[in-house]
Assembly symmetry: none
Homo-oligomer: 119 residues x 2
DNA sequence: TCCATAGTTCGATAATAGTCGAATTATGTT
DNA sequence: AACATAATTCGACTATTATCGAACTATGGA
């Protein structure tokens, strides 16, 4: 993943409103949520919510599809997966720098443990 | 970790210059790097570099300590560890949500191929 | 003390991002 | 068709962020 791309993803998540939206969608799971339902949870003007949804969509973290009058958004797990991989790569360059929470190892587990093998 | 705090960390990393600085320091390992050495790698005005170092320091991602005339910065792995933990928590709420790593497809999506899927 | 070097802080400017009411588009209902 | 609902886009405004030369602070050496 390019540094520029990663920075765009991080910047997209680096705003309280968008991070809240994203986490809400992550918690909602693959089914996602309809915009009005998101709006009910997070108090913000409809235009503002739409603005942030568009931003998250543009960088590829979420995507939405119309369902009659509604538009249902859900997270693109793959993008998030790539971002986590980027953040954890070059991280230990050999030795384990993130051993305590198991964040690294669980990611490696998910990914088949080939990205950054300890030397 | 609070959502606000996480957003601040993500925003700090969500800028190409700062992400480059951070990754350079991550690669440098626990020894870190002196400011002038960072400046040699990443072309930017000294004031700009200082500005970004201060930002990364303020959110706790890096810290610096003086060594005679130099100031040596290094990454605070713990902060990064917490951030990764935050990002991966609530992620699958039980089931594995990141099994496949659809790396290429999600990248294509970001490239704007199918911005608004035809309905 | 005087000078050079390493970094930071200041100040002014330019650029970008966020907010939200109002207008608009899309869909479904009567 | 007329109306209601869901969501986006527009437009204008405000706030924040980034940049960088110049001035400043801190340290070490002559």
């Amino acid at each position: 993943m390019e540094t520029l791309t990663a920075a765009e993803l991080l910047a997209a998540l680096g705003h309280e409103s968008r991070l809240s939206i994203f986490r809400l969608l992550v918690e909602a799971g693959p089914e996602g949520m309809v915009v009005s339902a998101i709006g009910e949870q997070l108090a913000m003007a409809a235009a503002t919510l739409s603005f942030h949804l568009a931003h998250l969509t543009r960088v590829g973290l979420i995507s939405g599809q119309r369902e009659s009058r509604f538009i249902r958004y859900s997270t693109n797990y793959g993008t998030m997966d790539e971002l986590i991989a980027f953040l954890t790569s070059n991280c230990c360059h050999g030795q384990a720098c993130l051993p305590k929470t198991g964040a690294c190892s669980s990611t490696e587990l998910r990914r088949g443990k080939t990205e950054n093998p300890p030397t």
